[in-house]
């Protein structure tokens, strides 16, 4: 017990040091509330994703696909779809199958006497740039960009990237009828008609319901990008 005084002093110093540390770093413990979990947190029913750096481990390989070229047919409207379109992602944010989306946009273009061509855009997942790049490839100079989550833009080759002819930002509100009209309107721009834009729709509660899902889908799309390949023909015969 001889060492006890020394020990007491050591402990006292240590306690003071700890207290000072705590004061200076400001990390007063917050685990001491009367509601703090007595026996730990228990199991979480939603698994943690922390540590994962991708949503889909696998990346699709498009190196065997033909690179998209600039079209010459003045009737041609190019539809540029997202990198995960019809592969990793099969349905839009609101659950419309992407096969039906593309079928309706093409039908709309054809109904107005124009010619659709579908490419897949692997160098950007930004819908504004997707639409602009599609427009630049199109013989007509009119293009449509469609992200896998359903967000769509109609653009023209000489517009600013973030400008557009028509923008449909609220993917969850899109219907197949809207997609068909988008095709029709794109074709009408080619014909140089005075086009009545498709009326805007608005649901102020879309953001709380869908924004997180939209972010996850966009990440899934972006991780499939392959900028070296650029743009490929998506519906090659």
């Amino acid at each position: 017990m001889q060492a006890s005084q020394e020990l007491v002093q050591k402990i006292t110093e240590e306690v003071i040091r700890q207290l000072q540390n705590r004061r200076s770093t400001g990390t007063t413990s917050v685990t001491g509330g009367y509601n703090s979990p007595a026996a730990g947190l228990g199991e979480d029913d939603v698994p943690s994703m922390a540590g994962r750096t991708r949503i889909n481990e696998k990346k699709s390989d498009y190196s065997s696909y033909r690179r998209a070229k600039k079209g010459t047919d003045p009737k041609e409207v190019v539809i540029g779809v997202g990198a995960a379109f019809q592969r990793e992602i099969k349905m839009t944010l609101s659950g419309i199958p992407l096969d039906d989306v593309i079928r309706n946009v093409k039908a709309g273009i054809e109904e107005e006497g124009m010619v659709p061509r579908v490419v897949k855009i692997l160098d950007t997942s930004d819908v504004g740039f997707m639409a602009l790049e599609s427009a630049k490839l199109a013989g007509s100079g009119i293009g449509i960009g469609i992200q896998s989550k359903g967000t769509t833009v109609i653009s023209q080759k000489d517009l600013y990237p973030l400008s557009n002819l028509e923008l449909f930002p609220q993917a969850p509100l899109m219907t197949l009828e809207t997609y068909r009209k988008i095709g029709q309107n794109a074709a009408k721009y080619v014909k140089g008609e005075n086009v009545t834009p498709i009326p805007s729709v608005n649901d102020p509660m879309v953001r709380p319901k869908y924004q997180v899902k939209a972010a996850i889908m966009h990440i899934a799309e972006t991780e499939q990008l392959d900028p070296k390949l650029g743009i490929i023909e998506w519906e090659d015969q």
């Binding site: 000489d158 517009l159 600013y160 990237p161």
Partner: protein, 140 residues
């Protein structure tokens, strides 16, 4: 000058074209004596606002007013074109360097020229220039 200049320095305020505030009346507008350029700010007023910002302890804001003062004589279309060239992937390095030169020599805008020149170097390092030879393919 004492802020707000519109209250304390009214008589000293002139527009870019040299019009005094009491010449910018509805009467004058109706007589057709007020052109769009008459409602633009002068370089002197911008420098004065820069002084105000500096006294309020905001050095970056003063620099902005200095650049703005230099840009008062750059025509609207030119200024829009320059902004667009500064966007990513819109210009080659030599285009930006020439733009800096134009700002310095034609418009006597050394602070703007410096900003553009720095941009040219940073853009080169970060790979967001157009390759030489592709000049003028930017939008518009």
């Amino acid at each position: 000058m004492q802020y707000p200049l519109g209250e304390h320095e009214r008589d000293r305020i002139t527009s870019r074209t040299g019009k005094k505030l009491d010449q910018l009346t509805l009467d004058e507008v109706m007589k057709g004596h007020v052109a769009p350029d008459d409602i633009k700010i002068s370089a002197e007023m911008l420098r004065a606002q820069g002084e105000v910002a500096e006294q309020a302890g905001n050095a970056p804001m003063k620099k902005n007013f200095e650049r703005a003062a230099e840009l008062t004589n750059v025509p609207d279309e030119v200024i829009l074109g320059m902004y667009n060239k500064l966007r990513p992937h819109r210009a080659t390095k030599s285009e930006l360097v020439l733009m800096a030169q134009e700002l310095l020599e034609k418009y006597k805008a050394p602070n703007c020229a410096k900003l553009v020149l720095e941009a040219a170097e940073v853009y080169e390092k970060r790979g967001i220039l157009l390759p030489e030879g592709q000049a003028g393919t930017g939008n518009r």
